[in-house]
């Protein structure tokens, strides 16, 4: 695997973009998507390193991450719907009950 660094750099860039998205966007669904993006960046790292090291564990891990992501998507989106039902908005700036 001569191109390992390429994959890792792409993964890092994607992760950074995801982070920026989480930090800058207000729309909860977009934030959610950015989180998915970050997870995928990590998945890419796992698989490329798994391939490089010649060991399957990393890929197994990715499967678990995907499962978690799926579960997270289900619960997170349900949360958003519930929140939207209450506040007529999914703007995270409206989520401020945990203040003080």
């Amino acid at each position: 695997m001569e191109n390992l660094n390429g994959y890792l750099i792409v993964s890092a860039i994607l992760f950074a973009i995801g982070t920026i998205g989480v930090l800058t966007r207000k729309n909860a669904i977009v934030i959610f998507m950015c989180i998915e993006l970050m997870l995928n960046a990590v998945n890419l790292t796992f698989i490329s390193l798994s391939r490089h090291l010649g060991h399957l564990d990393g890929q197994i891990f990715v499967i678990f991450i995907m499962t978690v992501a799926a579960a997270e998507a289900a619960v997170g989106l349900a949360l958003m719907i519930a929140f939207y039902n209450n506040k007529e908005s999914i703007d995270v700036e409206d989520v401020n009950l945990m203040k003080w």
Binding site: N3, L4, G6, I9, V10, A12, I13, L14, F15, A16, I17, G18, T19, I20, V22, L23, T24, K26, N27, I29, V30, F32, M33, C34, E36, L37, N40, N43, L44, I47, S48, S50, R51, H52, L53, G54, H55, L56, D57, Q59, I60, I63, M66, T67, V68, A69, A70, A71, E72, A73, A74, L77, A78, L79, M80, I81, A82, Y84, N85, I90
Partner: protein, 167 residues
């Protein structure tokens, strides 16, 4: 050839990722994200992991993104024209870039070890990726696998309870 392909895919992936975070309309973001996911699936194929690529397309691009798009449409969110906190964008970007710098520096400073497992491209070609994954999954990782099902069950119940107005 392969390098060129890699660069093209990478550019597409990064640009669509940037689109994810810049598009005003969430639908556009979602479509860009799907694009990114497809790029990642391509990477997986290039990394001799066709099974992962298939799952990537099915689970992420297929299931999760469909769920997200449905949600967006269901909620019918008005697009907010103005981004009030420009300093937020600035600070967030700076931090993101710092993360990137950190990671890249880490990447170059550290030494990746030599292969430890016996997994080679030939082996994958001979046996098939799915079989390898399946064998590993149902032997060594059987217990986590089963626990995952519980996690999914919990998620199902949780989302039903959360989303329903009255139970």
């Amino acid at each position: 050839m392969e390098t060129l392909f890699f660069v093209i895919i990478s550019l597409v992936a990064i640009i669509s990722a940037i689109l994810v975070i810049t598009c005003k309309n969430p639908i556009n973001s979602a479509l860009s994200l799907i694009m990114t996911f497809f790029c990642l699936a391509t990477y997986y194929v290039m990394l001799d992991a066709p099974f992962m690529a298939a799952i990537q397309v099915m689970v992420y691009a297929g299931a999760i993104m469909v769920l997200i798009v449905f949600t967006i449409m269901l909620l019918n969110i008005r697009v907010n024209a103005t981004q009030k906190h420009s300093h937020k964008v600035l600070l967030g970007s700076i931090l993101g870039i710092f993360i990137l710098i950190n990671t890249v520096v880490l990447l170059f400073k550290s030494q990746v070890s030599n292969p430890v497992g016996g997994l080679t491209g030939d082996l994958i070609k001979n046996l098939g990726h799915s079989e390898l994954i399946g064998r590993e999954m149902f032997t060594t990782f059987l217990l986590p696998f089963e626990i995952t099902s519980i996690l999914l069950l919990v998620a199902i119940i949780g989302s039903v309870i959360l989303a329903k107005k009255k139970i």
